[in-house]
């Protein structure tokens, strides 16, 4: 029995599963940048990686957020009339945990790439060298921001549950979010620079942790000692040596909130200008170093 064109259609077919060409859209530099940023952000929390890698960051998320929950519980049950710690002061008080998180994630974002030698693969793609630096920076800064913002938001929820005045709480919360973003940018830029000078993750972790913790300790001592010793000089200028105190001072200067560590008198214009300039110089300078570092590294 033969089949002629008029008959019922023969259902059998062999499909061509050879190499398929692609004629669709190529989304170019912006999309590549976005992909790298997202990959960095996800990597910071261990997403898309084996379970082993998720432990450290999420444990730290827990350690960092639980106290906020406790504070909220205490506030509600002991019927306090305001939060015992402000939105801006929380990250400064818990700075060690923040430093631990960043110390782990910054090398993961950058030292790993250097050790693996992946730069030629990125450079042969439609991005420019500076895109790599900015994507890594923004991705990690975003991760740190989310890290810091979570307990601050828990505090907000708590304050709303405790029926504190909504407008005031939300307003100060927004201020807290702003300072969280500023803090994230500052400490991320510093940590990335430190991590970018070593291929060994362990070394990177140690360097970041040591720098942040020592700076903090050093600055805190200087602030207190100079304040004690001299009546005319304002020891609080030394706060610029510690990123956390720097941001703490800025929250006092820009938002008028009480500083976590420092005298409670309002901050003058000179101090405001000084600390704001310091912030800009530090972040800009760190990014410049990063750009310079990656200009030399990883030739094709």
């Amino acid at each position: 029995m033969t089949t002629t064109p008029g008959d019922a259609v023969n259902d059998s077919v062999i499909h061509d599963i050879g190499f398929r060409h692609y004629d669709g859209p190529r989304l170019g530099r912006g999309w590549a940048f976005r992909s790298l940023l997202l990959e960095t952000l996800r990597g910071a929390f261990g997403l898309g990686r084996p379970a082993k890698v998720k432990i450290m960051p999420w444990v730290l998320v827990g350690i960092f957020t639980v106290p906020a929950v406790v504070i909220v519980a205490v506030t509600i049950f002991t019927k306090l009339d305001s939060l015992p710690i402000s939105y801006t002061a929380y990250p400064v008080a818990m700075s060690l945990i923040v430093s631990l998180f960043l110390a782990g994630r910054a090398p993961y974002a950058v030292s790993r790439d250097l050790r693996d030698g992946i730069m030629p693969l990125y450079l042969s793609r439609p991005i420019k060298r500076q895109d790599y630096v900015y994507a890594k920076f923004l991705g990690l800064a975003l991760a740190v921001f989310i890290f810091i913002a979570t307990p601050i938001t828990v505090l907000l929820v708590g304050s709303l549950l405790a029926t504190f005045p909504v407008g005031h709480e939300v307003w100060t919360w927004l201020g807290g979010m702003l300072m969280a973003a500023v803090l994230a940018c500052l400490i991320t830029s510093i940590s990335l620079v430190l991590a970018s000078f070593t291929k060994r993750r362990g070394l990177g972790v140690a360097a970041v942790l040591a720098t942040l913790v020592l700076a903090s300790g050093f600055a805190n001592v200087l602030v207190s000692v100079v304040d004690m010793k001299s009546s005319r000089t304002n020891g609080s200028f030394f706060a610029v040596l510690d990123p956390y105190l720097l941001v703490d001072t800025l929250s006092g200067a820009w938002l008028g909130v009480d500083r976590y560590n420092g005298p409670s008198q309002p901050i003058g214009a000179v101090e405001t200008l000084f600390f704001t300039a310091a912030l800009v110089v530090l972040v800009g300078g760190m990014l410049a170093i990063l750009l310079r570092r990656f200009r030399k590294v990883g030739g094709v």
Partner: protein
Amino acid sequence: MTAVSNLTVDLPAGVVGLVGANGAGKSTLIKILLGLMPPTSGTASILGFDCLTDGLAIREVVGYMPESECLPLDVAATEFLVHMARMSGLPANIARERAADTLRHVGLYEERYRPIGGYSTGMKQRVKLAQALVHDPQLVFLDEPTNGLDPAGRDEMLGLIARISADFGISVVVTSHLLGELERISDHIVVIEGGVLQRSTSTADATRLSGALLVEVTDQADAVMARLRERGAKVAASAASGTFAVEMSDEAVPSWVVTVVADLGVGLVRLQRRRHHLAEIFQTEADAAPQEVQS
């Protein structure tokens, strides 16, 4: 660092082999062609794009397989390739599909779900190749793709490269130190020395038949040679026993050999036209193998 100068070469489609001494400028050339580095003088263009101004556009349609170690070890091949596909500009879903397909084409199956750190050298080379192909480039640069592979692995990689050109329709520029490999897979050879183009020749031309016929018989080689000389052929004995070379002074020379061998009742093990080899390009006049056959 060696710069590249006066390099004017039209790379034809197909597989182009790039040879040169270490430090001769091959890496520099690739950087220039990828638009990552401006040439110190002259112009460079590839696939119709100007290397100086269209770097981003070039890198959208070109793939690169580096020689160095460049793979993240704690990620599975699938994740890695999807990420690379996206970084080449492919939308999310397309990236996923093409990544899966490309891994199949380079011959990675279940192992693709395991972290790359546990892969053998051969498998790692395949992943490197896959990331160069995943975005359907028009041209790929393969830098020493068979480095570190054992003979079986080399064979497979060379077969894969041939397929990329013949079946996938993607132009290939491959660098290698192994002339035998290049003879096997490339259609065209470019030689760079000290940053300057030395030769550009088709492989067919570089491996054309030379004027000698290599013969190997089971026994009575001397008798065979004597009879051939009687006919006027120029014959020279070779080192290996039973082997000799005959100058192809006449198209009928192979027939003479067969006739003589049949008459003497001797076994014919080998009858081969000698070819030129790429290696000859690298030999100086002093130690060039003599092509003349002495009788």
